[in-house]
């Protein structure tokens, strides 16, 4: 197990380094630089001077070596578009993404497991077929489209929820603690539900087939023969044994929700990692782009590592390895 963990960590490290390297060069090869979009009244002489001061006129390999040195010392650089250190920007963005992600993942799995279990128990009925069709539909919807339509429908046409952001731009600072929590929750509903609905469709499909695998097995029949209530049979005996693939999904969904959050955060102006990454790319904010890639990459690697660990905890057969 320990050797396996070391191998996985090494693998993740290689991936993070590779992806960071690629994004370092790609963002510099894209047209424009951090100073071509800021302040259009700025004199071009001043612009050139700023480029020289920050070393963006140096050859790329030289810039890259300096970048590596900085990262090795834990310095992620300075964000020109946010006028703050990249570390500070990301330290604020990560908890916001985690709040959104954990709400979305929790809702997605609660919904997905419930629907999938219901389908398996009512296997073959009209309810099973109808929900399968609906799930297939949700499974095929792109996240950016559902996000935009949710915003259009429930923030503009029927104004049930605020139209984006994480807090009320004006009133939040004047609210009581309870009011602030309610304010954030109201802003959280639409983006979290959008993400949850999309992933719940896939999760339900796994849960359904996993439970259908388990239901015809002998121990389930034994439980029924003992005279246990059907509810106990399904919830306590069958469902527990059908959770293995779902547990893998929990871990594997962590990285995908970081990636998926890119568009959803952008549409709902939720100021997390995805939103920061999108605006950093648009502003050619070099250090912020590489910073989000490094931190995002580490989060993704930790997510898939966590998936493996969860799996080992849930499946005793894997623990000995």
């Amino acid at each position: 197990m320990r050797r396996y963990l070391a191998a996985r960590l090494l693998q993740s490290l290689i991936v993070v380094v590779l992806v960071t390297t690629i994004s370092f060069f790609l963002i510099r090869l894209a047209p424009g630089d951090p100073f071509s979009f800021t302040d259009f009244t700025m004199n071009n002489v001043v612009r050139e001077q700023l480029r020289t001061q920050y070393g963006y006129d140096q050859p790329l390999p030289k810039q890259f070596i300096r970048f590596l040195g900085n990262v090795a010392h834990g310095r992620l650089g300075y964000s020109h578009s946010m006028q703050r250190n990249v570390g500070t920007v990301l330290a604020e963005a990560v908890p916001r993404t985690l709040l959104l992600m954990s709400a979305a993942i929790f809702a997605a799995f609660a919904l997905g497991i419930a629907i999938g279990a219901l389908q398996a128990v009512r296997h073959g009925s009209w309810l099973d077929r109808a929900t399968s069709a609906v799930l297939m539909f949700f499974y095929s919807i792109p996240d950016f489209w559902l996000a935009l339509m949710a915003l259009l429908a429930f923030a503009y046409w029927i104004p049930l929820f605020p139209s984006g952001g994480m807090t009320d731009a004006v009133l939040h600072d004047y609210m009581s603690l309870g009011g602030r929590i309610r304010d954030v929750l109201a802003h959280l509903v639409l983006p979290a539900l959008t993400l949850a609905l999309l992933s719940a469709a896939g999760i339900a499909r796994y849960q359904r087939s996993a439970l259908l695998d388990v239901l015809p097995q002998d121990f389930v029949r034994t439980a029924r023969a003992k005279g246990l209530a059907e509810r106990t049979v399904v919830m306590k005996h069958a469902l527990r044994n059908a959770l293995l693939p779902i547990i893998t999904l929990v871990g594997l969904s962590l990285p995908s929700l970081v990636g998926g959050a890119f568009f959803v955060e952008k549409v709902f102006a939720w100021p997390g990692m995805g939103y920061v990454a999108a605006s950093a790319i648009n502003a050619r904010d070099y250090d912020l782009v590489t910073g989000t890639v490094i931190v995002g990459g580490i989060m993704v690697a930790l997510g898939s590592l966590l998936a493996d660990l969860l799996y080992a905890v849930a499946d005793p057969r894997l623990r000995s390895r």
Partner: protein, 297 residues
Amino acid sequence: MPSPTRVSAPADRLAASLVAPAMAADAPSLVTRRRLTGTMWWSLALIFLLCIIAIFAQQLAPYPPNAQLDIIGLKSRPPSGAHPLGTDQYSRDLLSRMLFGARISLSVAMLAVLLSATVGTAYGLISGYRGGRVDAVMMRLVAVLALWSPVPLSALILVIGLTGWFEVSRLVRAEVLSVMQREYVVAARGLGASGPRIVWRHILPNVLNPVIVSATLGVGNVIILEAGLSYLGIGARAPTASWGSIFFDGSDAFQTTWWIALFPGLAIILTVLAFNVFGTALRDTLDPHQLAGDRAR
């Protein structure tokens, strides 16, 4: 079994179960099979229709896709008789743009999937057939590469195609390992057939089914991916339309011009849905041994 499979055990299991059908434990009874072929036919018809639309976009489109018809009178008009899907902010006819956009979206998706299926199959065949150290190194490489999300470069099809074959190669390798144990492969080897001949004539035809299924399901993913990449400016270049680029053109002012974002989104959903339904039905027909129910019993 060499260690790489263990290194990525849960991921492999997931990849395998991704291919396990949605209709998982359904016994392939006559009733379900008839129902499946029913869904198979309408989804196939829909895919066919979409391809026809893409091919004959020139004839079907009422206006040229990039023509600015009347920048004052027809700017951002909602759907009407003359413009069934409305016009965009440059007074271009949305229906015409979407018909031409179908060309880009569908051809990018299909070509990219074709490329990734070919590369993945070749890779998996070699890795699985050679076995031993070659296999260990090749699969370890895939395990690292597979964590890679598509990297934005210039040629979109190449990028998506060349970053999308990792799962296919694992799938094929696993199939090769099981097919190689079959009597007919052993017999062919006993008769003195060469390695390439065994791979080409005996193994390849028997591992193709899961590839076809995963490729069909992959088309939908790539359509969505292309749309997402066009937001980053990597997809179709303005003024060329793809469904993704039209959508993101419209998303800036969606409160007032909602139709520009709504209709390309519906087109994407319809297409992805058709490919997903067809792929699932295909899997249940081509790949009955993947039915999870068979494993349990």
